[in-house]
Amino acid sequence: MALPERKTDIGPPHYEQFLPPVIKKNYGKWLYHEVLSPGTMKHVAESGDEIYTVRVASPRLLSTDSIRDICEIADKYCDGYLRFTTRNNIEFLVSDKSKLDPLVKELKEKNYTIGGIGPRVSNIVHTQGWVHCHSACTDASGLVKSIMDELYEYFTEKELPNKVRLAVACCVNMCGAVHCSDIAIVAVHRKPPVVDDENVPKLCEIPTTVASCPTAAIRPNPKTKSIIINEERCMYCGNCFTVCPPISIHNPEEDGVAIVVGGKVSNLRSDPKFSKLAIPFFYNDPPRWPKVVQAVKNILETYAKHARKHERVGEWVERIGWERFFSLTGIEFTFQHIDDFTFARDTFRTSAAFKF
C-alpha cells in the first residue's frame, strides 16, 4: 500500500481548527469563571456566552482504544471538541449547557474519575519509568497509580487549603516538575556506578564523561583509556551513565525513591520555590510502594490540618519553619537533609531564632 506523500517542517496544525465555535468567538474576551463542582467549571465571556468544562482524570499512558472511547463521548456532548490540560487531565468542552448534566452522568456511569479543579490534588505529573526509559530507577506509573488510589477523594471531592501539585520522576534527570512541586517523588541511586573499562574507551568521549560529573568525581584513567570514579565524591546521580552507557548505575537492591516537598511555580503571594528534601529514601517496593504512599498521605494530611486557607505546602512550611515541619510530620531529620552541594552555605541557619 503506497504511503501518502510526506511533508517536512510544516509544524503542528494551527490550533484554531480545534477550537469550539464559542471559544473562537469569545477568544480573549472571557470575563470570569465559576467552579461548579470539583470537576466542573463554567467560564463566562463578556458577551455573556458560556463554556462548561468537565475535567476527567487520565493515566496519561492511554491506549488508542481509550482515546477512541473519549472521542465518542466528546462527539456526543461536545460537538467533537476536547482538550488536555498541562497536567494531562482530559477536559470535555461543553458549549451547550443542557448537555452538561448528561455528560457528567455518562462519565460517572462509565467510571471516569471527575475532579481536579480548585483547591485539590490534581493529576500527578510524571515520567516514563520502567515502561520506557533506560535511565529509570523506579516505575513512575506504578507510583502514580498507587498514590492516586490512596488520595482519590482529594481529587474528586475533598478540599485542601490550596491546590497541591504532585510529581514523580524516575531518575534525577527529573523530566517533570519535581524540583518545584508541593510534594514529589524522585528516584535515587545509593551506590557509585560500576565502570566497564573495556567498553568505555570504545563508546564514550572521555572529556564529556569527565565533565558530566556534578561533583568532579571522575577523572581519566590514562592506563585503561577509561575513567576512574572517586567513590568518596560520587553522589550517585547517574549523569555519567547518561553520557556513557558502559557506566552502570543501576543497583536494584539499593535503588529507591526520595520525597521532596514545598515547591511551587505560581507567583501568587510568594515567589516560586524549589522543593526540598523531606525523606531521603524508601526502597523500591512494587507493585504498590505502600510506605511511600503512606508518607505522601501523611505529609498531605498534616498540611491539610495545619495550613491556613490559600497557603500552598511550601508557604505553610515556611511560615511554621522547617524544624516544625519535621516535628509535626514526625519525619526523622538525617545527615542527608543537610545540603552539601554547591549552595549548601545558604541553607545553613544563620539565626539564633528558631523553634525547638
Binding site: 501518502p4 506523500e5 510526506r6 511533508k7 517536512t8 517542517d9 510544516i10 509544524g11 490550533y15 480545534f18 471559544i23 477568544y27 480573549g28 472571557w30 470575563l31 470570569y32 467560564h43 468544562t53 482524570a57 496519561r60 499512558l61 491506549s63 488508542t64 482504544d65 482515546i67 477512541r68 472521542c71 471538541y81 482538550r83 488536555f84 490540560t85 498541562t86 494531562n88 471516569y112 474519575t113 505529573v125 520502567w130 520506557h132 533506560h134 535511565s135 529509570a136 506504578g142 502514580v144 497509580k145 492516586m148 534525577v172 534527570n173 524540583h179 518545584c180 556534578p214 546521580c237 549523569n239 536494584p252 535503588d255 511555580v265 501568587l268 503571594r269 524549589f274 512494587p286 490559600h310
Partner: protein, 396 residues
C-alpha cells in the same frame, strides 16, 4: 494475542479507583504484540526492580535529526515485540485542543504502525506515540505529516514549545499564549528538527503569573504574561463577594504580599496602591468577578530554568521585566535569536543557557543581547564588595 504473560504484580495496579495504566497496556496488548511484550517486560521489571531498556541509539526519519527517541530492550530474545520500541514525538497543537476527528486519525495511524500506546502528553508537551520499530518510522511520519502533523523536538535542539490555555478559555491571559506558541514553533522549525545547538532549548508560555504551564521551572525561556497599569476593580462585585461571606480582609488583603490593598468594611470597597502591587495574581484569582488585570498588557521574559543535572535545578531569571507582545512578535524573535546566538557561540556541549549565564556572568549575557541592568533582574544586589569594572565604566 492477549494472555501471553501472567502479570500478578501489574494486576495489583488494576485495583483501586484511579484509572490504571496497566489496563491501558492490556487494552493495547489485545491488538499489538509490541504492547504485549511491553507488558511482559514491565512485569519482569516489577519483579526484579529494574528496567530493561538499553541506551537509545540514533534513529529517526529522513532529513530530521530529532523527534524520535530510539529505544531497545536489553532482553530482545525474551521480549521480541519490544526489541525496538521507539517513541515518536508529535508536536501538539497550541493549548492541547483537539477535535475527535484529528485524534482518531492519529489513533488509526498508530494502531497500524505502532504499539497502540500513547502519552497524552509528554512532559514537554508533545503528543507522544509510545513504541514502534525502526522500519515503521518513515511510514508513521508520512501518514502523520500528510495529515498536517509534524514531529516535535528531541536532542540538542529547540524543543517543542508549549503554553497554557490562555485566551482560549481564561479571563486572565495578558498575552495570546496559543498564537505566540504557534508562531514561535513555526519560526523555529529548522532548529526544532535539526539539532545544532549545544544542548536542548525549551520555550514555555503562560498568560499570567499563575503560570499554568510551569514555565518558570522548566523552560530555558519562560514567557509570562503581565500588565503595567492598574488592576481593574469592579466595586459592585467586591460588595457581592463580601455579602456572600468572603472574608476580604483575611483572605485577600492580609495575604497580599506587598500589603498594598486596603479594604473598607463599612462601605465594602477595596483600594489598591497599584504602584506597590507586584502583580502576583492572588487577589485576582480569589475575586475573579471583581478584579481584573490592567489594560497595558505584555510579558516578562525569564531565562534559564531546568532540572538538577549538572549544577542543580534552576528557576528562570528575569531578563526583560516587561515587553509588549504583538504579532508577528519580531522584537521577541530577534531577542531570542540573540540569546541563542550567544549561547551557541559560548557553550560547551550539554551546557544549558542558564548554566552558561551563571558561568560567564549575567553582565556578559545582558550585554550580548543588548538589555540594560535593571533592579527587577535581581532579588537583591550583591553582598560582598567584589565587583568588576569594565573600561567602559570608567568613561563617565
Amino acid at each position: 494475542m492477549s494472555g501471553k504473560y501472567k502479570t500478578p504484580m501489574l494486576d495489583e495496579l488494576e485495583k483501586g479507583p484511579w484509572p490504571s495504566f496497566v489496563t491501558e497496556i492490556k487494552k493495547a496488548a489485545k491488538k499489538s504484540d509490541m504492547a504485549e511484550d511491553e507488558l511482559g517486560q514491565l512485569e519482569k521489571s516489577y519483579n526484579t526492580k529494574r528496567g530493561y531498556w538499553k541506551h537509545g541509539g540514533i534513529v529517526g526519519v529522513l532529513g530530521y535529526g530529532g523527534g524520535v527517541i530510539g529505544r531497545y530492550s536489553s532482553l530482545p530474545e525474551e521480549f521480541p515485540g519490544v526489541a525496538h520500541f521507539h517513541t515518536v514525538r508529535v508536536n501538539q497543537p497550541s493549548g492541547f485542543f483537539y477535535t475527535t476527528k484529528a485524534l482518531r486519525e492519529i489513533c488509526d495511524i498508530w494502531d497500524k504502525y505502532g504499539s497502540g500506546l500513547t502519552n497524552l502528553h509528554g512532559s514537554t508537551g508533545d503528543l507522544v506515540l509510545l513504541g514502534t520499530k525502526t522500519e515503521n518510522l518513515e511510514a508513521v511520519f508520512a501518514e502523520l505529516s500528510s495529515r498536517g502533523w509534524d514531529l516535535g523536538g528531541s536532542g540538542s535542539a529547540m524543543r517543542t514549545p508549549s503554553c497554557c490555555v490562555g485566551m482560549a478559555r481564561c479571563e486572565w491571559a495578558n498575552i495570546d499564549t496559543m498564537d505566540l506558541c504557534n508562531e514561535l514553533t513555526q519560526y523555529y522549525q529548522d532548529q526544532l528538527h535539526r539539532p545544532a545547538f549545544p544542548y536542548k532549548f525549551k520555550i514555555k508560555i503562560s498568560g499570567c503569573a499563575c503560570d499554568c504551564v510551569a514555565a518558570i521551572a522548566r523552560a530555558d525561556l519562560s514567557i509570562i504574561g503581565t500588565w503595567k497599569d492598574s488592576i481593574q476593580i469592579n466595586q459592585d462585585e467586591v460588595r457581592k463577594y463580601a455579602e456572600a461571606g468572603l472574608d476580604i480582609q483575611k483572605e485577600i488583603v492580609d495575604m497580599c504580599p506587598t500589603q498594598c490593598m486596603y479594604y473598607n468594611p463599612e462601605d465594602k470597597t477595596l483600594k489598591i496602591a497599584d504602584a506597590e502591587c507586584n502583580r502576583c495574581m492572588h487577589c485576582i484569582a480569589k475575586m475573579t468577578k471583581a478584579l481584573r488585570p490592567g489594560k497595558e498588557k505584555g510579558a516578562t521574559l525569564l531565562v534559564g530554568s531546568k532540572a538538577p543535572i549538572v549544577v542543580g535545578s534552576l528557576l528562570s531569571w528575569v531578563i526583560v521585566p516587561f515587553m509588549k507582545l504583538t504579532p508577528p512578535y519580531d522584537d521577541l524573535k530577534e531577542l531570542i535569536d540573540k540569546m541563542i546566538e550567544w549561547w551557541d557561540d559560548n557553550a560547551k556541549p550539554r551546557e544549558r543557557i542558564g548554566e552558561l549565564i551563571e558561568a560567564k556572568g549575567m553582565r556578559a549575557f545582558l550585554e550580548a543581547i543588548g538589555v540594560p541592568p535593571m533592579p527587577q533582574q535581581v532579588k537583591e544586589p550583591r553582598k560582598d564588595p567584589f565587583f568588576f569594572w569594565a573600561e567602559s565604566d570608567f568613561k563617565k
